[in-house]
Amino acid sequence: MNQLIETTLLLEIDGEQVEVPQGETVLKAARALDIEIPVLCHDDRVEPAGCCRMCLVEIEGQRRLQPACTFKASAGMKVRTDTERVARHRRGLLSLYKADHRLDESGTPVSRGVHDMLADHIATYGTGPELEPVNAPRVSREHDTNPYIQFDPDACVVCGLCVRYCDEVEAVSAITLLGRGASTTIGTADQRNLLDTSCELCGGCIAVCPTGAMTEKPSLEQPTEQIIRSTCNFCGVGCQLDLHVAEVPVTIGATGGGSSTGANLPVGTKKKITRVTSPEPGTTVNDGNLCIKGRFSYEFIHHDERLKEPLIRGADGQLHPASWEQAITRVAEGLHGVKQRHGADALGFVSSSRCTGEENYLMQKLSRAAFGTNNCHQCAAT
């Protein structure tokens, strides 16, 4: 099989030679030369679609501009990304996108998500004709009460990357391109709430959205001051997380049990996680992907009722803070007591999937070697 022998080819981009493997796209060849070709609808994890038209370049012998993301490099090919034709196309296209986009007071495209690529491209490449807003008649799903994912059709460039990601990477296919022409947008079957679809709320659509049309509901309007890399401990995969942290105002009534004061009064600030993202695709084991737990279940970290020290229930029936030594002694006494009264098989040991493999190993060792029962289990085992 000759596929096993990797052959390379030489092509030229903006006058510079580059050697790439057979079958590589013009976009990847350009990246190898550090030549920036703007994209919106591209992500290395899904099949290139060539539909946002941002990456069109001139290729010698081709009458039309061609999308760098899909066009295969060939030996001797001459590509130009620096011509006036390409620049004019980028400006003209960005003008159209801008006319179809929600803008802020300064006339800049709005993004509420992790990427702001439309505004970035406009800042880099400029716009052509100043066009009036087109007010495209897109339908929205404002009634969608799912707790995590919000979609703003007027901040969407309809590149369909979220739809392709949901289908090709997650194999969930919960969302679709909906409608036709100027009204095309992103929808669900019968425009139902995401909770009533095959959606797993992984939030991948948010991560790939180039313009922040898909956003984390809990993170709306929340700043990022610092990013801290961490490892998700909801399961054993070891997904890397970027925790976005900021000092945010603390208000009475926003958290804390039961007291309904009516108004949320600011009483100071607190360091809090405002959003969780994955590191860039291709850089860590999770390749840019996260699940619902990794992306959205971070509230416990700074929750007021989070357990931070051992508690032992006293004779008064109340829980009292204790040292680890006191707590472990108390547990050991209890377990030995049960074994003496009822035998080892009256005991059972359950460990958490949030423990490491080593910790889980020690747990079963404790069960079998220390207490002498095979009644041990781990919550991810079934």
Binding site: R53, G92, L93, T176, L177, D190
Partner: protein, 504 residues
């Protein structure tokens, strides 16, 4: 990611069977086919006849019908309590203003004329249809290479609009390594002002079927698809009858050919060849990127030979009477051609004439002008408008392209001096905005920008949009994926260029 065993190509017919885009239908079709529910809902939302199902009268708002008072007709119907929906060109410009009833059947009206039968016509619409399949027998006897060579000598250009030499496609498919190939007949006639394929299917379906069978024989295809416009119910019936009659001949001559008729569901863009393939496969009819071309990777990724109805209808006479005979029928380019003509002329209809005649000759065949002609659109909405000073131009692929217009599907509309050309441009821009598939931004947004520019001018005498038309048109032409976006500004651009007085 397609699930194993999913029956995607069935979803559009099932959506129709279950009543289109209504709550719960996508779920039911998903259960029956294994295709994800959201995907099915997205497909349904793309096609007008599925997205807006229901019994109502559909009135054509194409250029010719609007000139003939479609607005008035809609108002009259509404006044009499009928539910009315304005729809894109119905391909019934000879019956303008045209309408479909609540069962998608044509509301009766006088049908257009056809030219009298003459010896120098390759298709002779007025002659009795020939179901002998003698040309297919001759093709089989002479062999595929001979047929391709005759097509080459004949100089047959694709009659769907692009005018691409037919023999290139035929030999390209034949030369592929992949043994499974398909033939597809593009019968999704929807270019405004065009109704010639309709007449071929109604009057001479065997001509088309025989051309299709010859194509299948040459391409080595065992299955042929006919993608016929959903609004053409009468054509579908004519095809079904003819296929039944053709079957014994196909069995005898080429060992049988599986013929599948697939109906469209209201999307002009599916006339674009790769969008049509997507529709047959059960997807939203969004054009694919080219290359690769369908000859190499078409239906389900297999080599696919796709031709327009009229192109195939020319093939039997080329095989029967020879390439040189066909070539000599044309005046400036090879062959005879079906010209559709409507608008301000006496006898709208389909006329088969030498390729390259002038407008005046065509109108003469159609009984003369009505009123004082001012403009004409030579080849459908995509060709824009030309002033009468160009009446002497040869109506062929090359000469019209030189004028920045196009031969297209040869749907000619004549507009007299009662028509405001800004208004005429608006009708065409509405068509392109409605029919843009929405996949790529230049067309999706640009078509709306251009329509709003002419709206602002007509409704508010505001010129700001008009000043941007050329620059937006440039980007639409450069940036769009398919031909629709590339030409979608032409009606407005050409109206502004040649009839600037209507924009003052």
């Amino acid at each position: 990611m397609e699930k194993k065993g999913a029956q995607r190509s069935r979803i559009i017919e099932l959506l129709e069977e279950h009543g289109g885009m209504r709550p719960g239908v996508a779920r039911e079709v998903s259960r029956e086919t294994g295709v994800p529910e959201a995907d099915i809902f997205g497909v349904a939302s793309f096609y007008t006849l599925l997205a807006r199902p229901g019994s109502r009268t559909r009135v054509c708002q194409g250029l010719t019908c609007m000139m003939a008072g479609a607005d008035r007709r809609m108002q009259e119907l509404r006044d009499s309590g009928v539910e009315v929906e304005p729809v894109s060109c119905l391909g019934q410009c000879d019956r303008a203003p045209a309408a479909l009833d609540d069962k998608l059947e044509l509301v009766a009206g006088p049908r257009g004329a056809i030219s009298p039968v003459r010896e120098d016509q390759a298709m002779q619409l007025g002659a009795e249809d020939d179901a002998s399949y003698a040309a297919l027998a001759r093709a089989v006897e002479a062999g595929p290479e001979w047929v391709i060579n005759e097509l080459k000598v004949a100089g047959l250009q694709g009659r769907g609009g692009a005018g691409f030499p037919a023999h290139f496609k035929w030999s390209a498919v034949r030369g592929q390594r992949e043994p499974v190939r398909y033939v597809v007949v593009n019968a999704d006639e929807a270019e405004p002002a065009t109704f010639k394929d309709r007449e071929v299917m109604l009057r001479r379906p065997h001509l088309m079927l025989e051309g299709m069978a010859i194509a299948a024989y040459v391409a080595g295809a065992k299955t042929a698809f006919i993608y016929v416009r959903g609004e053409f119910k009468d054509c579908r019936r004519a095809l079904d009858r003819a296929i039944e009659q053709a079957t014994p001949h196909l069995d005898r001559l080429i060992g049988g050919l599986e013929i599948r008729v697939v109906e469209g569901h209201g999307a002009y863009i599916c006339g674009e060849e790769t969008a049509l393939l997507e529709a047959i496969e059960g997807r939203r009819g969004m054009p694919r990127l080219k290359p690769p071309y369908p000859t190499e990777s078409g239906l389900w990724g297999k080599p696919t030979l796709m031709n327009n109805v009229e192109t195939l209808a020319c093939v039997p006479s080329i095989v029967g009477r020879g390439g040189p005979w066909f070539h000599a029928l044309g005046r400036t380019e090879p062959g005879s051609k079906l010209y559709c003509i409507s608008g301000h002329i006496a006898r709208p209809g389909v006329y088969e004439l030498p390729l390259g005649i002038t407008l005046d000759e065509l109108v003469q065949e159609a009984g003369g002008y009505v009123g004082t002609p001012r403009a004409f659109s030579p080849g459908g909405a995509s060709s824009g408008f030309l002033p009468m000073s160009e009446r002497g131009v040869a109506l062929d692929f090359g000469a019209l392209a030189k004028l920045g217009s196009m031969m297209g599907s040869a749907g000619v509309v004549v507009l007299n001096d009662t028509i405001d050309m800004a208004q005429a441009a608006r009708w065409q821009q509405i068509f392109f905005e409605d029919e843009s598939c929405g996949q790529c931004a230049p067309c999706r947004i640009g078509a709306r920008v251009q329509r709003q520019a002419v709206d602002r001018w007509i409704d508010g005498k505001n010129r700001t949009g008009l000043a941007q038309v050329e620059e937006v048109a440039w980007e639409m032409n450069e940036g769009s994926i398919c031909g629709l976006g590339m030409v979608a500004s032409l009606p407005l651009q050409s109206a502004m260029k040649y009839f600037s007085e209507d924009f003052q």
